[in-house]
């Protein structure tokens, strides 16, 4: 009887050990995105429609049409590239224009599950050819969270 108890005890212990060991990364701990706001005649304004593509190196992702928004969040590349190209258009007829966002990256360890995230420093952006997007205005020149605006689009 005494032995039986021990066997049971050991058996239950072995059940406890059968947990999954894949760590999960909770959201909000990853690489922050760049926050872009809009200005019309020097004043912060909503935009009727905007479509942003981001060239993330391995693929170009389409963030889709955003309607009546005051800001967009754009992911930047997490590899060692010193820039990310964004393509922007505001109407379906318009050809998209390219905005090149230059920066230096900094790697910050988060947790076993999340691995490493990137922060961006010395952020500055260059517009290739103006379309309805006339010019760019620098915001906060580093990205370590998604709260402050990093870039303004002047329409």
């Amino acid at each position: 009887m005494k032995y039986l108890k021990f066997i049971l005890f050991i058996f239950t212990l072995s059940l406890i050990s059968c947990g999954s060991d894949d760590d999960i990364c909770e959201s909000g701990e990853g690489t922050p995105r760049m926050k872009i706001m809009f200005k019309r005649e020097g004043k912060i304004a909503d935009i009727d429609s905007i479509r942003v593509y981001a060239d993330l190196g391995t693929s170009i992702i389409d963030l889709g049409w955003k309607l009546k928004v005051d800001s967009v969040f754009v992911p930047l590349r997490v590899d060692d590239s010193p820039f990310t190209d964004l393509y922007i258009k505001t109407t379906t007829e318009e050809d998209s224009t390219r905005v090149r966002v230059n920066y230096t990256t900094k790697s910050i360890y988060v947790s076993p599950g999340c691995g490493v995230k990137r922060n961006y420093e010395n952020v500055n952006s260059v517009l290739s050819t103006p379309n309805s997007l006339k010019s760019l205005e620098q915001g906060q020149n580093f990205i370590d969270n998604e709260e402050k605006t990093n870039l303004f689009f002047n329409f």
Binding site: F6, S14, V78, D80, S107
Partner: protein, 220 residues
């Protein structure tokens, strides 16, 4: 959290047993003499598995009966392991050692060395690790990796031991099977990165782990 609770329960139960063991010793006749006795064992299960898996674990122990049901134990081994999961690519290898004691909870009347035991050990590992890839998580599955150069690290952990020892027929050979719930106490870190594998401990992204050993032992 739940694991932690369960684990602390195990340890408190174990320490109760140890306490009762000590009390018993005090009440019994004060004079005792240590008679040299040794059991040397080699873990054949993990050594065997090493041929078929990425992990190479070789370990053995020397234990000695100190008094009545109380045995001391020293373990040593070498572990070489890789971790390729969840965007990581890492390897670590090095020796480890453990020292501790266990108490025969239930034993054979005819043979002091036969029975079920429980106890605890402290363990340390000094190893070399290299992280070829640590994931950088970006937007929508977009990711890349960074690497860390090879470096020397050390880790220390507490280990419970629960097992049984059975004499093989009338010989001096024993089979010793045990399970070892482990709790990682401290570990050195390279660039703040929590190690994913620690030789002798196993996967270390969570502090709790469980090990098994299936030893063939010889009593001198």
């Amino acid at each position: 959290m739940k694991k932690k609770l369960i684990y602390s329960l195990i340890f408190s139960v174990l320490s109760f047993w140890n306490l009762s063991a000590q009390e018993k010793e005090e009440t019994e006749k004060p004079k005792w003499k240590y008679e040299p006795n040794f059991i040397v064992g080699v873990d054949v299960l993990n050594a065997g598995v090493s041929f078929f898996s990425d992990r190479q674990l070789f370990q053995g122990f020397i234990s000695s009966k100190v008094k009545d049901n109380l045995h001391g134990i020293i373990e040593a081994g070498f572990d070489k392991n890789i971790y390729q999961n969840n965007g990581y690519d890492a390897k670590a290898s090095g020796p480890f050692a453990k020292i501790g004691a266990f108490y025969m909870l239930a034993r054979d009347r005819e043979n002091d060395f036969n029975g079920f035991y429980g106890g605890g050990k402290i363990a340390g590992s000094f190893y070399k690790q290299e992280y070829m890839a640590i994931p950088v998580r970006g937007f929508g599955g977009n990711s890349s990796t960074i690497s860390m150069p090879s470096s020397s690290q050390s880790s220390f952990w507490l280990e419970g031991t629960l097992g049984g020892r059975v004499q093989l027929f009338e010989s001096n050979f024993y089979i010793d099977v045990s399970m070892q719930p482990r709790y990682l106490m401290v570990t050195s870190k390279q660039d703040e990165v929590v190690p994913m594998i620690v030789p002798g401990f196993g996967k270390s992204s969570s502090k709790f782990n469980m090990g098994f050993a299936w030893n063939i032992a010889y009593k001198f």
